[in-house]
Amino acid sequence: MLDTVPPVSSALDDISVSIRDLELAFGSVKVLKDLNIDIHKGEFLVLLGASGCGKSTLLNCIAGLLEPTGGQIFIEGQNVTWAEPSERGIGMVFQSYALYPQMSVKSNLSFGLKNAKLPKDQIEKRVARAAEILHLGPLLDRKPGALSGGQRQRVAIGRALVRDVDVFLFDEPLSNLDAKLRAELRVELKRLHQSLANTMIYVTHDQVEAMTLADRIAIMKGGVIQQLAAPLEIYNTPANLYVAGFIGAPPMNFIQGALRGTDFEGIINVPMQGYGFSAAPKDGAVVFGIRPEHVLVNDAAASCAVQTRVVVDVVEPMGADTLLWCTLGGDEFRIRLDGQTPIRQGDTITVGIDPARASLFDKETEIRL
């Protein structure tokens, strides 16, 4: 990642999309604030955040569908801040598919090309290629109304594909599909990215999609990027309390307390020797976080330095794993176990915590320590 400011010409060499100081306000409401991202060529960037945080707004700015009130956008080295959407070398896939309802799949794919006055054989070739990649061959003559959700989604992707663009933009393309189809298309998308190697910017609020698809994830809140990093980095070392609570299902357990030296003191006391502090630890109010799947139970907990006992409120067996909902010091405490377990509701169990896998946040700034 770029740390220094190289001169324009070279700065954009490896960069596909560059967003500088982007600002957008609807009237007096600032939706995007001083946003800066550089997206590498061929990178799969996921914008993740709660509803209303400005993900779609950002994507629309990149696509040229919304005019920023400040800042610049570069695509493939070109300043496109004021360019028309169709001139930016982008393709976009929408949540509602936005297929042209009365045109056949083929016309849907070729409408934009015809309009750009591409020669006929060129159009044919591109449509054929997209149809092949997306397995749309047998559907070409159908109307969108006669397609299933997944097929529609593929046509929508195809429409972006035929435009032969550098950057693909996806706005929650899978959220209208059922879980099974979503999982399948997710993998297909991943494969597509691997074979096409275009830059892709993908908006979602589903963290599973974000985790599995992204090269990097940008977590947004209130129009500001909270953390921009590889999925596992975000998962393992969330930059702040918000990110920590946002990523992971069920969410990370938080325990309020204080840091004294390197020891956490709260309803449980945890010596934080193995923990990688980002700066020298300072005493003060902190929040201790541990993911449900990093909590060990009973036998497995035996080896842990930190142990405590909790009562199980609810057991949720999910086949491949099991969730336990317990209470620790009045707060909900979630535990995730692999596979199936004989633990029942009402049991008292011993839980163990490995400080090396925990996170510590400053109570006030909410930043990771």
């Binding site: 959407p85 976009m92 409408f111 934009g112």
Partner: protein
């Protein structure tokens, strides 16, 4: 938390339900009672009166309906009447033109209003307000505006174009234009509003998609939005068509069928036959033909629209 034992538990449950399937007819009796006015209207007024009309079209009723059957005599006369044939031609010309123009202009105006313009409400009101006026009013005003001695022609001549001539009301060749000017003035507003409502319902994403695809706005309207608005066009067409079939008041108020028979319409013919010529049966025969025409046009459409479709 455990459920408190509640003394009234199950109080919501009513008496024992019937174990047998109740009669279908008595099922939800209220809904049938409530539908009575509709059923009565449909059967007595629309079916009953239509049948009554058809039956009497085979009689020689004059001023009063009577059942003295004369076969197809009325129809033979009807179709040998040049006025009736002119009427049919006129309504065909007017109907097609008015329908097409209403839809096209309505859509055009709606598209204009949809361009995020300032004062949209004002423009919309301006286009819609004539719909609030009766045909008597419309006819009167346009007679006045088109009057060659006071109206447009006179004004343009006063401006120095002495040879300017625009007198559609008195020229059989162009009187249809006058009728259209007034008819469209009165009716396009509603079509515009309907279309506008339809446009507002079009998925925002479709617009974004066309912008990304680089489709110019007019093409998007024509090839993408119009097909999406099909149900809207159907609604508008039904509304316009009912107006056209019944076209009477406006013609009476504006031209009274003239000059000559240039704006004779079937409804006018019916009215004249029944009340001026006092030949009810002739009027009934003409109405029967009108009904028949409506059926012929409507049945295929209604099968297409309503057939097989369920809720909504």
């Amino acid at each position: 938390m455990t459920a408190l034992p509640d003394p009234d538990r199950g109080a919501v449950r009513a008496k024992a339900a019937p174990a047998r399937r109740p009669s279908r007819l008595l099922h939800n009796p209220m809904s049938k009672v409530a539908a009575m006015p509709m059923i009565a209207t449909a059967l007595v007024i629309f079916v009953g009166c239509s049948l009554w009309t058809v039956v009497h079209s085979f009689t020689d009723s004059k001023l009063l309906p009577r059942l003295n059957f004369v076969g197809f005599e009325q129809y033979e006369r009807l179709w040998s009447s040049s006025r009736w044939i002119t009427s049919v031609e006129n309504i065909a010309i007017y109907g097609v033109t008015a329908l097409v123009l209403s839809l096209v202009l309505g859509f055009l105006f709606a598209a204009l209003l949809d361009q995020r313009i300032r004062a949209e409400g004002i423009f919309r009101t301006i286009i819609l307000y004539p719909y609030a006026l009766s045909f008597i009013v419309t006819g009167l005003v346009w007679q006045w505006v088109l009057n060659p001695d006071f109206g447009i022609q006179n004004v343009v001549r006063d401006l120095g174009f002495a040879s300017f001539s625009f007198d559609p009301l008195n020229n059989p060749d162009t009187v249809m234009i006058a009728l259209l000017m007034a008819g469209l003035w009165q009716g396009t507003g509603l079509v515009t509003v309907i279309m506008l409502a339809g446009l507002r319902g079009v998925d925002e994403d479709i617009w974004k998609a066309t912008r990304v695809d680089g489709i110019p706005a007019w093409k998007t309207y024509l090839f993408v939005v119009v097909p999406i608005l099909r149900p809207v066009f159907v609604t508008a067409t039904v509304l316009i068509a009912t107006g056209i079939v019944k076209l009477y008041d406006l013609v009476v108020a504006l031209t009274n069928g003239g000059p000559g028979s240039a704006t004779q319409m079937p409804a006018l013919y019916v009215y004249d036959a029944m009340f001026a010529k006092q030949n009810l049966a002739q009027g009934f025969a003409a109405s029967t033909i009108m009904l028949l025409a409506v059926l012929v046009l409507l049945i295929p459409w209604s099968i297409h629209e309503f057939g097989g479709k369920k809720r909504g």
